[in-house]
């Protein structure tokens, strides 16, 4: 780690001011992505703006229509929330399979979405449910939020405040872990809502999380594993690395989508 200036503002406005003041400032949430990168000297922000002093960025509110989760809410809180377990069990399950207990006790949903790791879990839920990401400036639909590997629609001084997940009729998440990192080698989030079905895939796409429209169309008509049995996702554009070929990942999407649909609640 290199030396840096540490700031802990009390509200979002002050945080934005601090971000504007220094041109190499970074927000710190749970630190589960940022701190390892800093320790390896792969990231070297001059200023760290720690969000933990800001009240109101954390917590879960659920209604019959939506589950709204504050940006600083930790994975463990989502996983253990009775409300999430009731209205959106697939999301509680997703949070429970992120990393390990240490990571879940510090990592946050806002940090995960802002980071947009191509193998992270939350982006699949956001896209797979058609969530809305609320920042200090605007509301962004998930479909317009994720912009490729580690890229999002967030501006330089934009802070995620909360995420709103519409409550679907049914949703399911199946994750196949990378044997080393335990991130998603492939993860598929499926949902059936009033606007039809959604299928979002993480871990597999060379440009990050993406939707499988062909499956969505089939599931919109018949939300069953059988309905997508014949649908093959092409290997082109899939990540290929030591842990799995592009063909393997493409194949897993089909397997996991069927399992997610079958398990959807």
């Amino acid at each position: 780690m290199y030396a840096f200036t540490y700031e802990r503002p009390k509200n979002v406005d002050d945080a934005v001011k601090l971000l504007k003041k220094a041109d190499d400032a970074k927000l710190l949430a749970g630190g589960q992505t940022l701190l390892p990168a800093m320790k390896l000297r792969l990231a070297s922000p001059g200023t760290i703006v720690d969000l933990s002093g800001i009240k109101g960025l954390s917590g879960i509110k659920a209604s019959s229509k939506a589950v709204v989760i504050g940006a600083l809410t930790k994975h463990v809180e989502v996983m253990n929330s009775a409300e999430v377990q009731k209205s959106l069990p697939a999301l509680a399950h997703l949070a429970s399979v992120i990393g390990d207990p240490a990571v879940r006790n510090r990592g946050t949903i806002g940090g995960s979405l802002a980071n947009n790791d191509p193998s992270a879990d939350y982006p699949a839920a956001a896209l797979g449910l058609g969530a809305t990401i609320k920042t200090n400036k605007r509301e962004i639909e998930a479909d317009k939020f994720f912009k490729g590997l580690f890229e999002t629609a967030l501006g330089a001084d934009e802070i995620i405040e909360s995420v709103s997940f519409p409550v679907p009729e049914k949703a399911g998440y199946e994750k196949f872990r990378n044997p080393a990192s335990r991130f998603a080698l492939v993860g598929v989030f499926v949902s059936k809502g009033k606007d039809g079905a959604r299928v979002a895939v993480t871990g597999a796409g060379e440009s990050g999380v993406f939707r499988v429209k062909e499956m969505e169309a089939a599931l919109g008509k018949d939300f069953s594993a059988k309905a997508i049995e014949g649908i093959k996702v092409p290997a082109k554009g899939m990540i290929a690395d030591l842990h799995g070929t592009a063909e393997y990942r493409a194949h897993l999407i089909g397997v996991l989508a069927r399992r997610a649909v079958a398990a959807a609640k």
Partner: protein, 787 residues
């Protein structure tokens, strides 16, 4: 059996300290005035060093010195060596290239040290290291051992044309060729034994301190064998005379072989400490450990097995290319030769064996002994061959093994080893019963009903441990003897200190060695302490590796205890006015034979020191004895592991459904510790078979340079093991011990791959058998079945 004696499952004495954070590891030690060292390492796999500019770095805050390979050469500090001489087929000695602790002219792998920065704090050292400018002339590199000797491959060391260190062989070529010529059936396999990163929990570390007044150096380091480190650093590196160099290996958090070797960083710490006249501390970070700890395995092998019409094995032929890496690490040459080819007979009576081994340099981290060292590679070759042969012949793999087992002992194999004792049938039969082999078909059918594949695989392994009689290893090229030493110091109040040349880095010697003493002297285990890992306390020792501390280290203690007992009897004789010969010693009591006259242990030890009951002419005061023990043979632990797996053919995920291990370790001192060693060994073997694999890309970059890409086994990857033992005591040492530290890692990869290949119906499943790999194999297997 007493509650703390031999055979008792005594809780580990050392664990209180370890699990409460009270251990004393090298990085816990701070010396007054110490500076921190940080290495500038090559980002290139192969390059000339044109220029190293340290000027900017020297001016950075807190920097004490920046030292380069040229400085090291100017100070005439010698390079590192490999201590086991191997001779090629044509009689020429192995071709060992120079290994300076800091490269001066050329780097040969990513992570090669080119400079070291010493600064007041670690961060300052690291910041300054980034300011060291190195001008490299990048050269083409080679990482694949199978390509290293090819025409046109980059030349890594001038002394080794075509990167060939040796081409060695063992066995009778003509007899083996004849066996194949007349074979009824030949099974052939191409095998890659995947490269592994040791990943001990505690990364390596070193602190060096120079005592100017006495012109003496002290090194604290993470070593499995501090005396050998002192010997090499003194005699070969030329750092300081042996009596002016003290090496202390305090608590060490795991080694698995990787901490046997002498590494550049500890040499540099010593040299730098003397130069700057301040203690120098270096602690490896995990990324450095991935790049610079000696890796393990990395063989490319072609293997063939010949069988006659009665399914008797008549011959075995092996050609192996062994990757040695960029430099020859301390024992690297012995691993793919005398620790490998000598075990190719397995548990079988094979009349003819011929093995050829080519050792090559590549632009990768050095490769040396890693838990099992050569024997896992041998077991994998033999046990895969036998299993595949059984499948090809359509016979039960257990029956084919049984038919070919060595059944009478001693048994001389065609590859040097003389097996002294064993009962291979017993462990196989017991393991088959434990896993309920006869109902495997039912379990397979149940899995198939659920859309899963199920497979079962055997590994009836043998290994040679306790390495070994000094004369024998000397004749095979070892530069050192492989005995062990012990000293027993009895205090006036009866407590006992055992000084041993063995070194514990997780094995539990403080418990097991104390159990032996408690058993022999009838003293409570709490009154025995074990001293190890300090060259100023223990006179000399060979350290711990090759599962040798029980068989060799404890035998030395037995010898010293024999002497203690003899002398204590004499003291007791003077106390009770009887001849020493008439004294019996049992359960801590000395009794005059045939009388009820007795004195206790504490009385005798006190009298040995106050010396009031005998004159100096009659007996020397005190009670302290030492011994060196050199065994008469290797020991031969053997047994049977059976793995049963269930595979999801859609994802390729392998789940270990059952695991049975039946091992013959000879006599056992502490069954709980032995079981722990078996569990840990299997976990490492499962790691090799399913998860772990060091991978360099074609530019020589280590792609698996962190735990994000290098998959270590976790508890959730492992089943609940069923372990048991059979017993044939080892005839070659006084305790009848064979050793248990490596067996799990040796046996398990073959069992697991045999089970997976059985499940998918396809032999081509390379290690690590990741889900992606198994899925592909399962597709192939299904295609084959459909044809």
């Amino acid at each position: 059996m007493s509650a703390t004696g031999i055979g008792a499952a005594v809780r580990r004495k050392e664990d209180q300290r370890f699990i409460t954070g009270s251990g004393n590891y090298t990085s816990d030690i701070t010396r007054p005035g110490e500076v921190r060292a940080y290495f500038v390492r090559s980002p290139h796999a192969h390059a000339t060093i044109k220029k190293v500019n340290t000027k900017a770095a020297e001016k950075m805050p807190g920097v004490v010195a920046v030292l380069t390979g040229a400085d090291l050469a100017n100070d005439k500090i010698g390079g590192l060596i490999c201590g086991w001489a191997i001779t090629s087929k044509d009689g020429t000695p192995m071709k060992m290239g120079a290994h300076p602790a800091v490269a001066a002219d050329k780097v040969r792998c990513v992570g090669d040290a080119v400079a070291v920065v010493l600064a007041e704090t670690l961060r300052q050292a690291r910041d300054a290291a980034e300011a060291v400018e190195v001008d490299y002339g990048v050269l083409p590199s080679v990482v694949d051992p199978a390509k290293a000797a090819a025409k046109g491959a980059p030349q890594i060391h001038d002394v080794a044309p075509n990167n060939m260190i040796y081409d060695w062989h063992l066995g009778d070529k003509a007899a083996t060729d004849a066996a194949f010529a007349s074979a009824k059936h030949v099974t052939k396999l191409d095998i890659i034994n995947n490269r592994l990163v040791p990943n001990a929990m505690e990364p390596r570390a070193a602190i060096a301190e120079y005592d100017q007044g006495n012109d003496a150096l002290t090194l604290w380091n993470t070593s499995q064998n501090p005396h050998v480190a002192r010997l090499v650093i003194s005699a070969f590196v030329g750092m300081a005379p042996e009596h002016k160099l003290r090496v202390i290996a305090p608590d060490v958090g795991g080694g698995f072989g990787s901490k046997i070797f002498i590494y550049p960083e500890e040499v540099v710490a010593l040299w730098a400490a003397r130069r700057v006249k301040r203690p120098v501390k270096w602690v490896s970070d995990r990324s450095e450990a991935f790049l610079t700890d000696a890796h393990g395995r990395d063989h490319v092998t072609k293997a063939e097995l010949a069988l006659d019409a009665n399914h008797k094995i008549t011959g075995l032929r092996v050609h192996t290319i062994a990757n040695i890496g960029a430099y020859m690490s301390t024992f690297s040459s012995s691993v793919p030769t005398y620790l490998y080819a000598t075990l190719l007979s397995g548990q079988y009576a094979i009349p003819a064996i011929y093995a050829e081994v080519d050792a090559v340099y590549t632009n990768t981290a050095p490769v040396d002994a890693y838990r099992g060292a050569g024997r896992p590679e041998a077991t994998f070759v033999v046990e895969r061959l036998v299993e595949v042969a059984a499948r090809e012949l359509g016979v039960d793999p257990a029956e084919l093994r049984r038919k070919n087992f060595v059944k009478s002992f001693p048994h001389q194999t065609p590859v040097i080893m003389a097996y002294d004792a064993g009962d291979y049938d017993a462990s196989l039969t017991k393991a088959m019963n434990m896993i309920d082999y006869k109902n495997f078909g039912q379990r397979k059918a149940a899995s198939e009903k659920n859309g899963k594949l199920r497979g079962i695989g055997f590994s009836t392994y043998i290994e040679a441990c306790g390495i070994a009689p000094s004369q024998a290893v000397g004749s095979l090229g070892a530069g050192v003897g492989l005995w062990e030493s012990a000293e027993v110091r009895v205090n006036p109040t009866g407590s006992v200190e055992i000084l041993t040349g063995s070194h514990s880095h997780g094995q539990g010697h403080e418990t097991t060695f104390a159990q032996l003493v408690s058993d022999r002297l009838g003293v409570p285990i709490e009154t025995v302490s074990i001293v190890h890992g300090d060259t100023d306390k223990v006179q000399f020792g060979m350290g711990t590796y090759g599962s040798r501390s029980g068989a060799v280290g404890m035998s030395a203690i037995v010898k010293a205890l024999d002497k203690i007992e003899a002398k204590a009897k004499k003291v007791a004789g003077y106390m009770m006015e009887a001849s020493g010969d008439d004294i019996e010693f049992k359960d801590g009591k000395f009794t005059v034979k045939g009388t009820d006259k007795s004195v206790g242990w504490g009385d005798v030890t006190l009298n040995a020191y106050i010396a009031h009951k005998f004159t100096g002419g009659q007996l020397e005061p005190g009670l302290k004895e030492g011994a060196f023990y050199d065994p008469t043979n290797f020991t031969f632990p053997a047994g049977c592991h059976i793995a049963e797996v269930e595979i999801d053919p859609e994802t390729g995920k392998t789940t270990i459904a059952n695991w049975v291990a039946v091992d013959d370790f000879g006599n056992i001192i502490n069954p709980m510790i032995v079981e722990g060693q078996v569990h840990g060994g299997i976990a490492q073997g499962v790691g090799q078979a399913l998860l772990e694999g060091a991978h360099y890309n074609s530019d020589g970059q280590l792609v698996t340079g962190s735990f994000m890409d290098y998959a270590m086994p976790r508890a959730a990857d492992l089943p609940s093991f069923k372990v048991d033992t059979t017993l044939t005591p080892c005839p070659s040492n006084p305790l009848g011990i064979k050793g248990c530290g490596e067996a799990g890692a040796i046996a398990s990869p073959a069992a697991l791959i045999n089970a997976i290949t059985n499940a998918v119906g396809h032999e081509n499943v390379p290690m690590p058998a990741t889900p992606s790999t198994v899925w592909k194999a399962a597709q192939g297997g299904m295609k084959k079945a459909a044809e």
